[in-house]
Subunit: 199 residues, 2 copies
Protein backbone atom coordinates (compact mmCIF):
# COMPACT_ATOMS: atom_id res chain seq x y z
CA UNK A 1 0.00 0.00 0.00
CA UNK A 2 2.78 2.38 -0.85
CA UNK A 3 1.18 4.52 -3.55
CA UNK A 4 -0.69 7.56 -2.19
CA UNK A 5 -3.13 7.30 -5.11
CA UNK A 6 -4.08 3.76 -4.11
CA UNK A 7 -4.38 4.78 -0.45
CA UNK A 8 -6.65 7.69 -1.38
CA UNK A 9 -8.80 5.40 -3.51
CA UNK A 10 -9.12 2.89 -0.67
CA UNK A 11 -9.98 5.65 1.82
CA UNK A 12 -12.63 6.98 -0.56
CA UNK A 13 -14.17 3.55 -1.17
CA UNK A 14 -14.23 2.86 2.58
CA UNK A 15 -16.56 5.85 3.03
CA UNK A 16 -19.29 4.25 0.89
CA UNK A 17 -22.17 2.58 2.75
CA UNK A 18 -21.50 -1.01 3.75
CA UNK A 19 -17.83 -0.85 2.75
CA UNK A 20 -15.26 -1.13 5.54
CA UNK A 21 -11.48 -0.73 5.30
CA UNK A 22 -10.98 -4.41 4.48
CA UNK A 23 -13.57 -4.57 1.71
CA UNK A 24 -12.33 -1.22 0.38
CA UNK A 25 -8.87 -2.76 -0.02
CA UNK A 26 -10.41 -5.77 -1.72
CA UNK A 27 -12.43 -3.56 -4.08
CA UNK A 28 -9.44 -1.37 -4.93
CA UNK A 29 -7.29 -4.42 -5.63
CA UNK A 30 -9.97 -5.99 -7.81
CA UNK A 31 -10.23 -2.75 -9.79
CA UNK A 32 -6.47 -2.22 -10.08
CA UNK A 33 -5.57 -5.80 -10.97
CA UNK A 34 -8.04 -5.76 -13.87
CA UNK A 35 -7.64 -2.19 -14.96
CA UNK A 36 -8.85 -2.77 -18.52
CA UNK A 37 -11.67 -5.25 -17.92
CA UNK A 38 -13.10 -4.04 -14.61
CA UNK A 39 -11.85 -0.56 -13.72
CA UNK A 40 -12.13 1.10 -17.14
CA UNK A 41 -15.73 -0.06 -17.86
CA UNK A 42 -16.80 1.03 -14.37
CA UNK A 43 -15.18 4.44 -14.87
CA UNK A 44 -16.92 4.87 -18.22
CA UNK A 45 -20.27 3.84 -16.72
CA UNK A 46 -19.80 6.26 -13.81
CA UNK A 47 -18.99 9.06 -16.28
CA UNK A 48 -22.03 8.20 -18.37
CA UNK A 49 -24.38 7.97 -15.39
CA UNK A 50 -22.99 11.12 -13.81
CA UNK A 51 -23.62 13.03 -17.02
CA UNK A 52 -27.10 11.68 -17.64
CA UNK A 53 -28.77 11.24 -14.26
CA UNK A 54 -30.76 14.08 -12.77
CA UNK A 55 -33.29 14.44 -9.98
CA UNK A 56 -36.90 14.54 -11.17
CA UNK A 57 -38.23 17.96 -10.15
CA UNK A 58 -41.72 16.51 -9.77
CA UNK A 59 -41.31 13.37 -7.64
CA UNK A 60 -37.64 13.46 -6.56
CA UNK A 61 -36.73 10.21 -8.31
CA UNK A 62 -33.41 9.79 -10.15
CA UNK A 63 -33.54 9.26 -13.89
CA UNK A 64 -31.87 10.33 -17.11
CA UNK A 65 -34.87 12.48 -17.92
CA UNK A 66 -36.82 15.17 -16.02
CA UNK A 67 -39.72 14.57 -15.41
CA UNK A 68 -38.63 10.98 -14.81
CA UNK A 69 -39.90 7.98 -16.78
CA UNK A 70 -42.53 7.23 -14.12
CA UNK A 71 -43.88 10.80 -14.01
CA UNK A 72 -44.01 11.03 -17.80
CA UNK A 73 -45.63 7.63 -18.40
CA UNK A 74 -49.20 8.38 -19.58
CA UNK A 75 -50.47 4.85 -18.83
CA UNK A 76 -49.83 5.25 -15.11
CA UNK A 77 -52.55 6.53 -12.81
CA UNK A 78 -51.45 10.11 -12.07
CA UNK A 79 -54.34 10.56 -9.63
CA UNK A 80 -52.66 8.37 -6.97
CA UNK A 81 -49.45 9.60 -5.35
CA UNK A 82 -47.41 7.20 -3.24
CA UNK A 83 -45.48 9.26 -0.67
CA UNK A 84 -42.16 7.68 0.33
CA UNK A 85 -39.14 8.68 2.35
CA UNK A 86 -36.49 8.35 -0.37
CA UNK A 87 -35.54 7.10 -3.79
CA UNK A 88 -34.66 3.59 -2.58
CA UNK A 89 -38.30 3.30 -1.47
CA UNK A 90 -39.54 4.24 -4.96
CA UNK A 91 -37.30 1.48 -6.34
CA UNK A 92 -38.58 -0.98 -3.72
CA UNK A 93 -42.26 -0.30 -4.53
CA UNK A 94 -41.52 -0.44 -8.27
CA UNK A 95 -39.93 -3.87 -7.85
CA UNK A 96 -43.22 -5.22 -6.50
CA UNK A 97 -45.03 -4.18 -9.73
CA UNK A 98 -48.07 -3.79 -7.45
CA UNK A 99 -48.49 -0.04 -7.86
CA UNK A 100 -49.26 1.87 -11.04
CA UNK A 101 -49.60 5.39 -9.65
CA UNK A 102 -46.87 8.00 -9.30
CA UNK A 103 -44.50 8.81 -6.46
CA UNK A 104 -43.37 11.65 -4.26
CA UNK A 105 -40.10 11.28 -2.36
CA UNK A 106 -40.02 13.48 0.74
CA UNK A 107 -36.25 13.37 1.02
CA UNK A 108 -36.39 12.10 4.60
CA UNK A 109 -38.73 11.82 7.56
CA UNK A 110 -39.35 14.17 10.47
CA UNK A 111 -36.89 13.52 13.24
CA UNK A 112 -36.46 15.44 16.48
CA UNK A 113 -33.11 13.75 17.13
CA UNK A 114 -31.63 14.47 13.70
CA UNK A 115 -33.25 17.91 13.62
CA UNK A 116 -35.32 17.22 10.48
CA UNK A 117 -38.25 19.67 10.44
CA UNK A 118 -41.21 19.93 8.04
CA UNK A 119 -39.45 22.67 6.05
CA UNK A 120 -36.58 20.26 5.32
CA UNK A 121 -38.91 17.83 3.54
CA UNK A 122 -40.64 18.24 0.17
CA UNK A 123 -44.06 18.70 1.79
CA UNK A 124 -45.00 22.00 0.15
CA UNK A 125 -44.15 20.47 -3.23
CA UNK A 126 -46.53 17.60 -2.40
CA UNK A 127 -49.32 20.03 -1.47
CA UNK A 128 -48.95 22.00 -4.68
CA UNK A 129 -48.88 18.75 -6.72
CA UNK A 130 -52.14 17.64 -5.11
CA UNK A 131 -53.72 20.93 -6.17
CA UNK A 132 -52.33 21.14 -9.70
CA UNK A 133 -52.53 17.44 -10.60
CA UNK A 134 -56.06 16.85 -9.25
CA UNK A 135 -54.82 14.02 -7.02
CA UNK A 136 -57.52 11.69 -5.70
CA UNK A 137 -55.53 9.52 -3.31
CA UNK A 138 -52.32 9.82 -1.36
CA UNK A 139 -50.76 6.54 -0.16
CA UNK A 140 -48.46 7.12 2.80
CA UNK A 141 -45.79 4.43 2.31
CA UNK A 142 -43.55 5.43 5.19
CA UNK A 143 -41.48 3.24 7.48
CA UNK A 144 -43.25 1.63 10.45
CA UNK A 145 -40.83 3.42 12.78
CA UNK A 146 -41.47 6.25 15.24
CA UNK A 147 -40.12 8.86 12.81
CA UNK A 148 -41.93 7.36 9.84
CA UNK A 149 -45.26 7.27 11.66
CA UNK A 150 -44.76 10.77 13.10
CA UNK A 151 -44.29 12.02 9.54
CA UNK A 152 -47.39 10.11 8.41
CA UNK A 153 -49.46 11.76 11.19
CA UNK A 154 -48.09 15.18 10.32
CA UNK A 155 -48.90 14.68 6.64
CA UNK A 156 -52.41 13.41 7.46
CA UNK A 157 -53.08 16.67 9.35
CA UNK A 158 -51.50 18.78 6.62
CA UNK A 159 -53.43 17.08 3.80
CA UNK A 160 -56.82 17.15 5.56
CA UNK A 161 -57.63 20.58 4.11
CA UNK A 162 -57.08 19.36 0.53
CA UNK A 163 -59.89 16.80 0.86
CA UNK A 164 -57.74 14.15 -0.83
CA UNK A 165 -58.25 10.49 0.17
CA UNK A 166 -55.38 9.38 2.42
CA UNK A 167 -54.33 5.76 2.94
CA UNK A 168 -51.33 4.02 4.44
CA UNK A 169 -49.64 0.66 3.94
CA UNK A 170 -51.19 -2.22 5.87
CA UNK A 171 -49.36 -3.28 9.01
CA UNK A 172 -49.31 -6.94 9.92
CA UNK A 173 -47.42 -10.18 9.55
CA UNK A 174 -44.69 -10.14 6.92
CA UNK A 175 -44.91 -12.94 4.34
CA UNK A 176 -43.10 -16.02 5.61
CA UNK A 177 -43.29 -14.67 9.18
CA UNK A 178 -43.86 -17.14 12.01
CA UNK A 179 -45.97 -16.07 14.97
CA UNK A 180 -43.42 -17.28 17.46
CA UNK A 181 -40.70 -15.03 16.04
CA UNK A 182 -42.90 -11.97 15.50
CA UNK A 183 -42.44 -9.00 17.81
CA UNK A 184 -45.39 -8.14 20.07
CA UNK A 185 -46.12 -4.86 18.33
CA UNK A 186 -46.52 -6.48 14.91
CA UNK A 187 -48.56 -9.36 16.28
CA UNK A 188 -50.99 -7.12 18.18
CA UNK A 189 -51.36 -4.83 15.13
CA UNK A 190 -52.03 -7.86 12.94
CA UNK A 191 -54.69 -9.02 15.43
CA UNK A 192 -56.38 -5.64 15.67
CA UNK A 193 -56.34 -5.23 11.86
CA UNK A 194 -57.58 -8.77 11.18
CA UNK A 195 -59.58 -9.08 7.97
CA UNK A 196 -62.66 -11.16 7.24
CA UNK A 197 -62.07 -14.42 5.38
CA UNK A 198 -64.32 -14.73 2.38
CA UNK A 199 -65.86 -18.18 2.18
CA UNK B 1 -34.91 1.86 -11.26
CA UNK B 2 -36.16 3.05 -14.61
CA UNK B 3 -33.02 4.58 -16.10
CA UNK B 4 -30.94 2.07 -18.09
CA UNK B 5 -27.79 3.97 -17.07
CA UNK B 6 -28.56 3.44 -13.40
CA UNK B 7 -29.39 -0.23 -14.01
CA UNK B 8 -26.11 -0.72 -15.86
CA UNK B 9 -24.20 0.95 -13.05
CA UNK B 10 -25.88 -1.27 -10.45
CA UNK B 11 -25.18 -4.39 -12.53
CA UNK B 12 -21.53 -3.38 -12.87
CA UNK B 13 -21.13 -2.65 -9.15
CA UNK B 14 -22.75 -5.98 -8.28
CA UNK B 15 -19.93 -7.77 -10.10
CA UNK B 16 -17.31 -6.41 -7.70
CA UNK B 17 -16.11 -8.76 -4.94
CA UNK B 18 -18.29 -8.78 -1.83
CA UNK B 19 -20.99 -6.62 -3.45
CA UNK B 20 -24.38 -8.27 -4.03
CA UNK B 21 -27.39 -6.83 -5.87
CA UNK B 22 -28.75 -5.18 -2.73
CA UNK B 23 -25.49 -3.49 -1.74
CA UNK B 24 -24.91 -2.51 -5.38
CA UNK B 25 -28.24 -0.65 -5.32
CA UNK B 26 -27.27 0.98 -2.04
CA UNK B 27 -23.88 2.00 -3.43
CA UNK B 28 -25.37 3.39 -6.64
CA UNK B 29 -27.97 5.36 -4.70
CA UNK B 30 -25.35 6.77 -2.33
CA UNK B 31 -23.26 7.85 -5.34
CA UNK B 32 -26.20 9.29 -7.29
CA UNK B 33 -27.81 11.11 -4.39
CA UNK B 34 -24.57 12.94 -3.63
CA UNK B 35 -23.28 13.39 -7.14
CA UNK B 36 -21.05 16.36 -6.33
CA UNK B 37 -19.71 15.34 -2.92
CA UNK B 38 -19.37 11.56 -3.31
CA UNK B 39 -19.61 10.48 -6.94
CA UNK B 40 -17.48 13.21 -8.54
CA UNK B 41 -14.52 12.88 -6.12
CA UNK B 42 -14.58 9.10 -6.52
CA UNK B 43 -14.62 9.42 -10.31
CA UNK B 44 -11.68 11.83 -10.23
CA UNK B 45 -9.75 9.52 -7.90
CA UNK B 46 -10.45 6.53 -10.15
CA UNK B 47 -9.23 8.51 -13.16
CA UNK B 48 -6.11 9.59 -11.31
CA UNK B 49 -5.34 6.10 -10.02
CA UNK B 50 -6.07 4.49 -13.38
CA UNK B 51 -3.63 6.86 -15.06
CA UNK B 52 -0.87 6.54 -12.48
CA UNK B 53 -0.89 2.96 -11.23
CA UNK B 54 1.22 0.34 -12.97
CA UNK B 55 2.44 -3.14 -12.14
CA UNK B 56 6.02 -3.25 -10.88
CA UNK B 57 7.94 -5.32 -13.44
CA UNK B 58 10.28 -6.52 -10.72
CA UNK B 59 8.04 -7.72 -7.88
CA UNK B 60 4.52 -7.54 -9.34
CA UNK B 61 3.27 -4.96 -6.81
CA UNK B 62 1.00 -2.09 -7.87
CA UNK B 63 2.37 1.43 -7.53
CA UNK B 64 2.54 4.73 -9.36
CA UNK B 65 6.18 4.05 -10.17
CA UNK B 66 8.01 1.13 -11.76
CA UNK B 67 10.06 -0.29 -10.04
CA UNK B 68 7.65 0.23 -7.14
CA UNK B 69 8.46 2.24 -4.00
CA UNK B 70 9.44 -0.94 -2.13
CA UNK B 71 11.78 -2.19 -4.88
CA UNK B 72 13.43 1.23 -5.24
CA UNK B 73 13.87 1.93 -1.50
CA UNK B 74 17.63 1.69 -0.85
CA UNK B 75 17.21 1.30 2.92
CA UNK B 76 15.37 -2.01 2.53
CA UNK B 77 17.29 -5.30 2.56
CA UNK B 78 17.29 -6.34 -1.10
CA UNK B 79 19.00 -9.63 -0.24
CA UNK B 80 15.79 -11.09 1.24
CA UNK B 81 12.84 -11.76 -1.07
CA UNK B 82 9.45 -12.56 0.44
CA UNK B 83 7.53 -14.71 -2.05
CA UNK B 84 3.75 -14.21 -1.87
CA UNK B 85 0.74 -15.27 -3.89
CA UNK B 86 -0.60 -11.83 -4.78
CA UNK B 87 -0.55 -8.11 -4.18
CA UNK B 88 -2.97 -8.24 -1.24
CA UNK B 89 -0.38 -10.41 0.54
CA UNK B 90 2.32 -7.78 -0.05
CA UNK B 91 -0.01 -5.22 1.53
CA UNK B 92 -0.76 -7.58 4.43
CA UNK B 93 2.93 -8.19 5.21
CA UNK B 94 3.68 -4.46 4.83
CA UNK B 95 0.98 -3.61 7.37
CA UNK B 96 2.82 -5.70 9.99
CA UNK B 97 5.96 -3.52 9.58
CA UNK B 98 7.83 -6.70 10.56
CA UNK B 99 9.65 -7.21 7.25
CA UNK B 100 12.19 -4.92 5.64
CA UNK B 101 13.14 -7.01 2.63
CA UNK B 102 11.59 -6.95 -0.83
CA UNK B 103 8.76 -8.97 -2.37
CA UNK B 104 7.93 -11.19 -5.28
CA UNK B 105 4.27 -11.78 -6.14
CA UNK B 106 3.77 -15.06 -8.00
CA UNK B 107 0.40 -14.04 -9.39
CA UNK B 108 -1.31 -17.14 -7.94
CA UNK B 109 -0.49 -20.58 -6.61
CA UNK B 110 -0.27 -23.95 -8.36
CA UNK B 111 -3.68 -25.57 -8.57
CA UNK B 112 -4.62 -28.79 -10.31
CA UNK B 113 -8.31 -27.94 -10.06
CA UNK B 114 -8.02 -24.43 -11.49
CA UNK B 115 -5.41 -25.58 -14.01
CA UNK B 116 -2.68 -23.24 -12.75
CA UNK B 117 0.69 -24.64 -13.83
CA UNK B 118 4.24 -23.47 -13.03
CA UNK B 119 4.44 -21.58 -16.34
CA UNK B 120 1.42 -19.49 -15.31
CA UNK B 121 3.27 -18.13 -12.27
CA UNK B 122 6.16 -15.67 -12.16
CA UNK B 123 8.64 -18.39 -11.13
CA UNK B 124 11.22 -17.84 -13.86
CA UNK B 125 11.24 -14.14 -12.98
CA UNK B 126 11.97 -15.13 -9.37
CA UNK B 127 14.85 -17.39 -10.44
CA UNK B 128 16.44 -14.70 -12.56
CA UNK B 129 16.02 -12.14 -9.75
CA UNK B 130 17.84 -14.48 -7.34
CA UNK B 131 20.74 -14.69 -9.79
CA UNK B 132 20.96 -11.01 -10.72
CA UNK B 133 20.19 -9.50 -7.31
CA UNK B 134 22.49 -11.81 -5.29
CA UNK B 135 19.60 -12.87 -3.06
CA UNK B 136 20.61 -14.52 0.22
CA UNK B 137 17.24 -15.64 1.55
CA UNK B 138 13.83 -16.43 0.11
CA UNK B 139 10.91 -16.38 2.58
CA UNK B 140 8.01 -18.45 1.28
CA UNK B 141 4.98 -16.59 2.66
CA UNK B 142 2.30 -18.70 1.01
CA UNK B 143 -1.09 -19.71 2.36
CA UNK B 144 -1.27 -22.71 4.70
CA UNK B 145 -3.61 -24.42 2.22
CA UNK B 146 -3.02 -27.46 0.02
CA UNK B 147 -2.36 -25.29 -3.04
CA UNK B 148 -0.18 -22.84 -1.12
CA UNK B 149 1.95 -25.60 0.38
CA UNK B 150 2.19 -27.47 -2.95
CA UNK B 151 3.56 -24.27 -4.47
CA UNK B 152 5.98 -23.88 -1.56
CA UNK B 153 7.28 -27.44 -2.08
CA UNK B 154 7.62 -26.89 -5.82
CA UNK B 155 9.53 -23.65 -5.25
CA UNK B 156 11.80 -25.31 -2.66
CA UNK B 157 12.78 -27.92 -5.28
CA UNK B 158 13.22 -25.31 -7.99
CA UNK B 159 15.34 -23.01 -5.82
CA UNK B 160 17.58 -25.77 -4.45
CA UNK B 161 20.02 -25.36 -7.34
CA UNK B 162 20.50 -21.65 -6.64
CA UNK B 163 21.88 -22.38 -3.15
CA UNK B 164 19.78 -19.57 -1.67
CA UNK B 165 18.58 -19.93 1.92
CA UNK B 166 14.87 -20.84 1.95
CA UNK B 167 12.53 -20.25 4.87
CA UNK B 168 8.78 -20.31 5.36
CA UNK B 169 6.36 -18.60 7.75
CA UNK B 170 5.95 -20.31 11.12
CA UNK B 171 2.80 -22.37 11.55
CA UNK B 172 1.12 -22.44 14.94
CA UNK B 173 -1.48 -20.82 17.13
CA UNK B 174 -2.81 -17.52 15.86
CA UNK B 175 -2.61 -14.63 18.35
CA UNK B 176 -5.72 -14.59 20.52
CA UNK B 177 -6.43 -18.20 19.59
CA UNK B 178 -7.90 -20.49 22.21
CA UNK B 179 -6.86 -24.15 22.28
CA UNK B 180 -10.43 -25.34 22.47
CA UNK B 181 -11.40 -23.62 19.24
CA UNK B 182 -8.24 -24.48 17.30
CA UNK B 183 -8.48 -27.06 14.53
CA UNK B 184 -6.50 -30.27 15.08
CA UNK B 185 -4.05 -29.59 12.26
CA UNK B 186 -3.00 -26.23 13.70
CA UNK B 187 -2.77 -27.59 17.25
CA UNK B 188 -0.64 -30.59 16.27
CA UNK B 189 1.62 -28.35 14.15
CA UNK B 190 1.97 -25.93 17.06
CA UNK B 191 2.89 -28.86 19.33
CA UNK B 192 5.46 -30.30 16.95
CA UNK B 193 6.99 -26.87 16.33
CA UNK B 194 7.06 -25.91 20.03
CA UNK B 195 9.86 -23.55 20.94
CA UNK B 196 12.03 -23.48 24.05
CA UNK B 197 11.09 -20.91 26.69
CA UNK B 198 14.02 -18.78 27.77
CA UNK B 199 14.14 -18.39 31.53
Amino acid sequence: MSSPDINDLIRMLARLPGVGPRSARRLALCLLEDRETVMKPLMLQLDKTYASVKTCTRCGNLDSQDPCAICSEPRRNHKIICVVEGISDIWAVERTRAFDGVYHALGGVLSAIDGVRPDDLRINELLSRITTEGTEEVVLALAATVDGQTTAHYLTDKLAATGVRISRLAHGMPMGGELDYLDDGTLSTALRSRTAVKS
